[in-house]
C-alpha cells in the first residue's frame, strides 16, 4: 500500500500533546483595538470543539492567528506540540482551514483548485489525484469538477472549501462557519460528513458557528469567547447542565380563549392553539399535564421551545451594563427633551 502523505509528519507527533494549545494570546490591531486579551485554550486530539462568540468577539482573529492569516501581538500557539514561532511550516502540515468567506479563484476549475492546494503542500499529482477524486465524490462535487468555481451554488462552494482543506489529510480541521447560508438538508449532510471524518479518521475539528443547534449537535467541548476573552471553556454536557429551566411548546387539540393557570409552572400563550411551558429542573411534567387535563385542555404534541445552548450563550455574552446604560440614556434624553 502506498504510504499516505503526511504519514511521516504524523509519526513524530506526540500523542500527549493537544491538537491546539493557546497561551496568553493577545492581538492589538493597528488602530489600537484589542481584539484578544490573553486567550488560553486547549483542544485535545480527536475532539470536536466549538468556539462560539458574538460577531467581533475574537473567534476569527484567534483562528486567523492559528492559520497564519493574522499576526499575533503576544502569546504562544502550539499545533500538536509544534510552536508556530519555531516551525510554522511543520505545524501547517497538520492544519486544514475552511474559512468563513469564499477564498478561492472564482475562475479556476473546481478540480484545479483542489489539486493546486495539494501542490502547495508538496503532494505529487500521483498522490493528489486519487485523493481529490475521492473528496469530490464524497462531497457531491464530482459532476462539477471540470466547471469554473463561480458556477457553483453557495453550498457547493462551501463543500469545495472543505474538500480543499482536506486534500493533504490534516489532523486538525478548522471550520469557520462552514454551513452559513446552506439549506437545512445540505447542512445536515455536511454535519454527517464532519462527524464521519472526526470519528473514522480521528481528525480533530474546531468549529465556529452561529447555528448553536449545530454546535450542540456536533461538539463535545466548547469555549465561548466574548470581547477577546474566553468566558467559558468546558464540555458541552457540563455546560448544558447549568441550565436550570427548560421550555416546551405544547400544541393543543382545540383553541383556547384565555391562558390557563398552572400551579408551580410558568405558562405563556403563543397563539390560540399553542402554549409555552417553562419547567424547572427536577419538576415532574406529569403535574402540568394533569392540571391542563383538569381544565379540559388536551395536549396533542410537545417539543423543545428553543435551543438550550442559545439561552446560555445569550446569558454569557450579553452586556451586563446594557440595562443601566439604556436607563441612563433614556433619562438623559428625557431631561434634554424637557429642558
Amino acid at each position: 500500500m502506498t504510504p499516505h502523505f503526511n504519514q511521516s509528519i504524523h509519526k513524530d507527533t506526540l500523542m500527549a500533546e493537544p491538537a491546539l494549545s493557546i497561551r496568553g494570546l493577545t492581538k492589538v490591531y493597528g488602530n489600537g483595538f484589542e481584539a484578544l486579551k490573553g486567550v488560553d485554550l486547549d483542544v485535545e486530539q480527536g475532539d470536536f470543539f466549538a468556539l462560539l462568540g458574538p460577531n467581533g468577539a475574537g473567534k476569527s482573529t484567534t483562528l486567523g492567528i492559528v492559520c497564519s492569516l493574522v499576526q499575533k501581538t503576544a502569546g504562544q500557539v502550539k499545533i500538536f506540540g509544534i510552536d508556530i514561532d519555531k516551525d510554522f511550516a511543520k505545524a501547517k502540515y497538520h492544519l486544514g482551514v475552511v474559512p468563513q468567506e469564499f477564498n478561492f479563484s472564482q475562475f479556476e476549475k473546481v478540480e484545479d483548485i483542489i489539486l493546486t492546494q495539494a501542490g502547495y503542500y508538496g503532494m505529487s499529482m500521483k498522490e493528489a489525484k486519487p485523493r481529490s477524486d475521492r473528496l469530490l465524490k464524497d462531497l457531491g462535487l464530482w459532476d462539477k469538477r471540470g466547471g469554473a468555481a463561480r458556477m457553483l451554488s453557495g453550498g457547493m462552494k462551501r463543500r469545495l472549501m472543505i474538500a480543499r482543506a482536506l486534500i493533504h489529510r490534516p489532523k486538525l480541521l478548522i471550520l469557520d462557519e462552514p454551513t452559513a447560508g446552506v439549506d437545512i438538508e445540505l447542512r445536515r449532510s455536511m454535519w454527517e460528513y464532519m462527524r464521519r471524518i472526526n470519528r473514522e479518521e480521528g481528525t480533530s475539528i474546531i468549529l465556529t458557528t452561529h447555528y448553536l443547534e449545530e454546535a450542540e449537535s456536533l461538539c463535545r467541548n466548547i469555549a465561548i469567547i466574548n470581547r477577546g476573552e474566553i468566558v467559558k471553556n468546558t464540555s458541552m454536557r457540563e455546560l448544558l447542565t447549568e441550565l436550570d429551566t427548560e421550555a416546551f411548546l405544547l400544541d393543543l387539540e382545540a383553541p383556547i380563549e384565555t391562558l390557563p393557570a398552572l400551579d408551580g409552572f410558568e405558562l405563556e400563550r403563543v397563539d390560540a392553539q399553542q402554549l409555552a411551558l417553562s419547567v424547572r429542573k427536577g419538576t415532574s411534567l406529569n403535574d402540568a399535564f394533569e392540571q391542563l387535563s383538569a381544565q379540559g385542555i388536551k395536549v396533542l404534541s410537545m417539543r423543545n421551545r428553543s435551543n438550550r445552548l442559545e439561552e446560555l450563550f445569550v446569558n454569557m455574552t450579553s452586556e451586563p451594563d446594557t440595562a443601566s446604560d439604556i436607563d441612563s440614556a433614556t433619562s438623559t434624553s428625557a431631561k434634554e427633551t424637557a429642558s
Binding site: 492569516l69 501547517k92 474559512p99 508538496g122
Partner: protein
C-alpha cells in the same frame, strides 16, 4: 518541506500562473501583439522609411529590439501586478498563506509566471517583426540573458506594486505614469546620440535605457551605453528588488492584519 516538496510547490505555483494568463489569452497575449504590429506598420514602415538609417541600420530594424523589450517589460510587470492583486482581492492568497510553502516559493512562482508571460509576448512580437524585417542575433547568449533578467526584474517590481496596492487603481498607476514614460524615453525609438548633451545626461539615469540598449546590442551589435555595466546594473536591481519583495512578504505587508 524537503527539496522534492519545494520543487512540487514551486512548479504548482508556476503552472497556476501560466494557466491563468493562457486562460485569458485574448486579454493577455493578443492585445500586445496587435499594438506592436501597429508600431511596426506606422513607425517602422510608414515613418521609418523617411527617417532613414540609425547607427547605419534601417530604422525598422533599429526599433525591433526596443519594441520587443517594451512588450517584455510591460507584460511581465502587469501580469504579476494583476495576478497577485486578484489573489489578494479574491482572498485566494490565503490558500498559499495557510500552506507550508516558504515565502520565497510564493514570490518565485509569481515572478517566474510573470516572466513567462513577458517572454511569451516577446516571442510573439519577435515572430511578428519577421513580417517587416530580417535580423540575426549578434550575441545570442547575451540577448537571452538580458531579456530573461529584464522579465524577472519587472515581474518582481509588479509583485511589490501588488503587495502595496489597496485597490485596482493602484496597480495601474505605476505602469501608466512611470513605466510607460521611462520605456518611451528609454531609447526604444531613437538613439540618445540624437539628444542634446543635457538631455543625454538625464536619459542616462533611466534604467530602461540600459536594458533596451543591452538587448539591442545582443541582436544588432550596436549600443549607446557600455553593455557590461548594463548587465551588472540589471543583476543588482534584481537582487535589491527580490530582497525587498521577500522582506515585505515575510513581514506580511499588505496581506496580513
Amino acid at each position: 518541506m524537503n527539496h522534492r516538496q519545494l520543487l512540487i510547490s514551486l512548479w504548482t505555483m508556476v503552472v497556476k500562473e501560466i494557466r491563468r494568463f493562457m486562460r485569458i489569452w485574448p486579454q493577455t497575449l493578443v492585445p500586445p501583439s496587435i499594438t506592436m504590429t501597429m508600431y511596426f506598420i506606422i513607425f517602422g514602415n510608414l515613418i521609418g522609411s523617411r527617417v532613414g538609417e540609425m547607427h547605419g541600420i534601417s530604422y525598422m530594424s533599429y526599433i525591433v529590439p526596443g519594441l520587443i523589450m517594451m512588450s517584455v517589460i510591460t507584460n511581465s510587470y502587469s501580469n504579476v501586478a494583476s495576478s497577485f492583486f486578484s489573489n489578494k482581492f479574491q482572498r485566494s492568497v490565503e490558500e498559499m498563506m495557510v500552506s507550508p510553502m516558504p515565502n520565497w516559493v510564493i514570490l518565485g512562482g509569481f515572478v517566474i509566471g510573470g516572466a513567462a508571460r513577458g517572454l511569451g509576448v516577446g516571442l510573439i512580437v519577435t515572430l511578428v517583426s519577421f513580417f517587416f524585417t530580417d535580423f540575426s542575433l549578434h550575441h545570442p547568449l547575451l540577448t537571452l540573458s538580458v531579456v530573461i533578467m529584464t522579465a524577472l526584474l519587472f515581474s518582481i517590481a509588479g509583485f511589490i506594486n501588488a503587495l502595496l496596492a489597496k485597490k485596482f487603481d493602484d496597480i495601474s498607476i505605476i505602469p501608466i505614469f512611470v513605466l510607460t514614460p521611462l520605456t518611451y524615453l528609454g531609447g526604444v525609438f531613437y538613439s540618445i546620440d540624437l539628444l542634446p548633451d543635457f538631455w543625454q545626461s538625464i536619459a542616462m539615469a533611466n534604467p530602461i535605457l540600459y536594458m533596451v540598449n543591452a538587448f539591442r546590442y545582443g541582436i544588432l551589435g550596436i549600443s549607446d551605453i557600455p553593455v557590461a555595466g548594463a548587465l551588472v546594473a540589471i543583476a543588482a536591481f534584481i537582487v535589491v528588488f527580490w530582497s525587498l519583495a521577500l522582506w515585505m512578504l515575510n513581514r506580511g505587508k499588505g496581506i496580513r492584519s
